[in-house]
Symmetry: C2
Subunit: 179 residues, 2 copies
DNA sequence: GCCTCTTCTAAACCTGGGTTCATTCTCCAC
DNA sequence: GTGGAGAATGAACCCAGGTTTAGAAGAGGC
């Protein structure tokens, strides 16, 4: 029961509408978010008003603007709901202290860190080595169901091109598949 | 003294010439490398023979093809010396067991993981959001001394363009600075 | 010194993607 | 149903970067 009391005191799980903003790039607020259902995008906003999608988090996931151990800085990216989403918000300090006190949790965090590191590395590789068309094709094969839930503009900004260029790429691929 | 004996048994620190290969993408060998002096590049090799530079490690650093905890897979990238380098090679299994047995070491690894994760994130951001010219300029300001030790081709492949395009970018920047 | 190998730059041409403006499509609200 | 707003596509134009080939400039080796 004391467990439940603490859960209620520090957590707050809310249902948030499509479009609601969870993190704003440049802010110094510090929370860890647990996505329980829905769809969230993490994105960078450039000084000239463009937006580029860092990653999508579908269905369930864990994200925050900074890493648990990291010294306080400003958020490097923004986060916003792309669908109605159920999201729990945890204070970063509280999470940090929980992790510090629990060696088993530390091991879990280490595994999670490694998983996410490998994903980042693979993203780096595709952005550095592959053309937009190839990135599109592998995104489709690896994330077929996710792609259906996303707007063309969001997919485009994830691939690193404008929505118009993305439309052309799709047309090109369509032509190739006909022959 | 027992410490020293083990060090001699499992480590091997060697002086390696420019051009020598430390890691080959696709291999399954598993080592952790400690760069004590010199300069190393980590790079991806694509199926059509192109090479793209993942990162440079100047002077001192730590790298391996996979992460200590990771399950055995093949190397995702290659590594090669760009200058004469002094490099210690440690068996990944041995490193892994050392870390598992030492909670203080675990904390150090966690900090290192976070540091490297933040670097990856910042690289992702530049590759996704910035033009090659902007990437060149910020690389210059942040790595002025390193840039002098690198060939144009290696810088170009790090920025994500061909050496020829890089030469044009430099020319463009030169023109702008004159006015 | 000279010769060779490598690196870097130059020029010409082509393609992919950005930009702008206009048009179609689709989904809702009413 | 109709009207309207946002999303997606189409067309025209420009520029950055890839490709190829050639030439200039360094860096060793002798």
């Amino acid at each position: 029961m004391r467990q439940m009391a603490e859960r209620d005191r520090v957590w707050s799980s809310e249902r948030r509408p499509k479009g609601s903003v969870l993190l704003v790039q440049g802010d110094t607020s510090s929370s860890v978010f647990v996505l329980e259902s829905g769809l969230v995008k993490l994105c960078y906003e450039t000084s000239d008003g463009d937006e580029w999608v860092k990653s999508f988090i579908p269905d369930v996931g864990l994200f925050g603007s900074r890493w648990p151990l990291s010294t306080s800085q400003e958020n490097r990216f923004s986060a916003r709901c792309l669908e109605w989403s159920q999201i729990a918000t945890l204070p970063a300090d509280w999470v940090r202290s929980k992790i510090a006190a629990d060696s088993q949790l530390q091991a879990t965090v280490a595994r999670f860190s490694e998983w996410i590191y490998r994903r980042k590395q693979s993203r780096e590789e595709t952005l550095l080595c592959e053309t937009a068309e190839r990135r599109y094709l592998s995104f489709l094969t690896n994330n077929a169901s996710l792609a259906k839930r996303l707007s063309q503009a969001d997919i485009a900004r994830y691939l690193g091109v404008t929505p118009i260029a993305f439309s052309r790429i799709k047309e090109r691929v369509r032509q190739k598949n006909l022959t």
